[in-house]
């Protein structure tokens, strides 16, 4: 597969690994946060940590839309499917995420609710066309990458005059979340949690461009390198961050130039601006209420807004007691710092959102990385 296989080559990985080992300053630590779950997944799936020096640590961030969706919004979706008898369409990722009382969309489907997994918003439109007598709700989640396809679907529904299609919009914005993390007291306070630099999102940036990160690099004096999702991209970007840190720079650099430009995808941005507008604030799991961090559907498209067509109450639901997802999502704690991790909380029986998506820090760590701590412990005791 072109543009995939080349970026997973072991011989090149060894080269970049040697360069990183040569260039790191042994006297310091490098705490590099990958905002995106895509990076987390690549790091674990390919075993990137094995090729990095010990003093370079990956801090896993909140960039997984499934993980940051608050329980209350999942409860809303469950209510829509159960009480309003709609056909609820959503991406496969959402199906197993637990809402209140351990209910998930998969569980209510088993109880008879009409929940359907779709691969694309086009599939949701087709379901609406094929079922003119039923209300079809698309449970939309995702960052800036996944938002434009929702915008296309809403415009298409309007053009076709589809009366039974609406979108339960949960699209969120990456820059707002990064800013929230950087401003959180634990991260700002010197000496507690340090994030020395950021891997910038790959595909989010392909839409919004590299320009929005310039503010962070300047304001918070942390380097940002926009990194592709293949393992070589991650390693090369780590090298670029290490170089910036060694040189005392804090610039926005772009490793993923084959897809990301400074301005991003103008057509996609224009479509999103046409259909959506900012919410004053939105709750993120782990981050709490984050101002101007999410989108809602503009009134011109109110007919396609599930929140206008149905009664969608604001539900205050709390996370499971003892669950450290909030701290893990901010990079303040590691999965193994959570008492529930691996005991009551496993991928089969997830308590918190980080264990649900394979991109969540806990699930990725559980699935791919567990043996590392044992190896580390053995080395330490030897």
């Amino acid at each position: 597969m072109k543009y995939v296989d080349e970026f997973r080559r072991q011989d090149l990985a060894k080269k970049v690994s040697r360069a990183i080992h040569n260039e790191v300053d042994r006297g310091r630590r490098y705490n590099l946060m990958e905002f995106c779950g895509g990076h987390t997944h690549a790091i674990f799936r390919y075993g990137v940590q094995d090729l990095m020096p010990d003093n370079v640590r990956f801090v896993h961030g909140p960039g997984c839309p499934v993980c940051v969706l608050p329980v209350g919004r999942i409860d809303n979706a469950i209510q829509l499917a159960q009480q309003h008898d709609v056909i609820l369409c959503t991406y496969g990722d959402m199906l197993r995420v637990p809402g209140s009382g351990r209910k998930s969309l998969l569980k209510i489907k088993a109880e008879g609710a009409d929940v359907r997994m779709v691969y694309s918003t086009q599939d949701a439109l087709k379901i609406a066309r094929d079922n003119p007598g039923r209300e079809v709700v698309f449970f939309a989640i995702g960052f800036e990458t996944t938002t434009p396809p929702t915008a296309v679907a809403i415009r298409q529904a309007q053009a076709e005059g589809l009366k039974n299609f609406s979108v339960f919009c949960n699209h969120v914005l990456t820059p707002a979340a990064i800013q929230n993390i950087l401003e959180s007291p634990e991260v700002r306070e010197i000496g507690s949690v340090l994030i020395d630099g950021f891997f910038g999102p790959s595909h989010v940036s392909s839409v919004i461009g590299s320009q929005p990160y310039e503010f962070f690099a300047e304001e918070f004096q942390r380097p940002v390198v926009i990194a592709g999702f293949e393992p070589l991209d991650v390693m090369q970007s780590a090298l670029m961050l290490i170089r910036q840190l060694n040189e005392g720079r804090h610039d926005v650099e772009n490793e993923y130039t084959r897809v990301v430009s400074r301005d991003g995808n103008r057509k996609a941005k224009a479509l999103v601006a046409e259909v959506f507008e900012l919410r004053r604030s939105f709750e993120w799991r782990g981050l709490g209420l984050v101002p101007y961090s999410a989108l809602r559907i503009k009134s011109a498209y109110a007919g396609f807004d599930t929140e206008k067509r149905f009664d969608v109450p604001a539900i205050q639901a709390s996370d499971v007691k003892g669950c450290e997802c909030p701290s893990i999502l901010r990079g303040v704690k590691k999965p193994t710092d959570c008492k529930l991790f691996g005991t009551v909380c496993t991928p089969e029986n997830p308590m918190g959102s980080c264990m649900v998506s394979s991109e969540g820090a806990c699930a990725a760590y559980w699935t791919y990385g567990r043996f590392r701590d044992q190896a580390t412990a053995r080395e330490a005791s030897a």
Partner: protein
């Protein structure tokens, strides 16, 4: 987040603003509503059934060259006399 994969455009249907992409031996119908100026033969990034962006072959080459360059820097540093011969 945001699983997306590069694939080559093999067919374009202007009427429906959609096309077919090939990912190795696999073919899939996708929407082209989010990209402009796509031609057959171009590589695009596919996300949830949409082409999100074109992939620049020149930039991909440049990035790949960087991976080799990392070692070049290292070789130059390791060579006696700074490597300039």
């Amino acid at each position: 987040m945001c699983l997306a994969i590069p694939a080559q455009v093999v067919e374009i249907d202007d009427v429906s603003d959609s096309g077919t992409v090939a990912l190795g031996p696999v073919r899939k119908r996708i929407s082209l509503a989010l990209v402009d100026d796509v031609s057959v033969g171009d590589f695009v990034l596919i996300h949830v059934g949409y082409a999100l962006n074109k992939i620049s072959p020149e930039e991909a080459e440049r990035t790949l060259a960087l991976f080799g360059e990392a070692e070049l820097v290292e070789e130059l540093a390791a060579a006696p006399g700074g490597g300039a011969t």
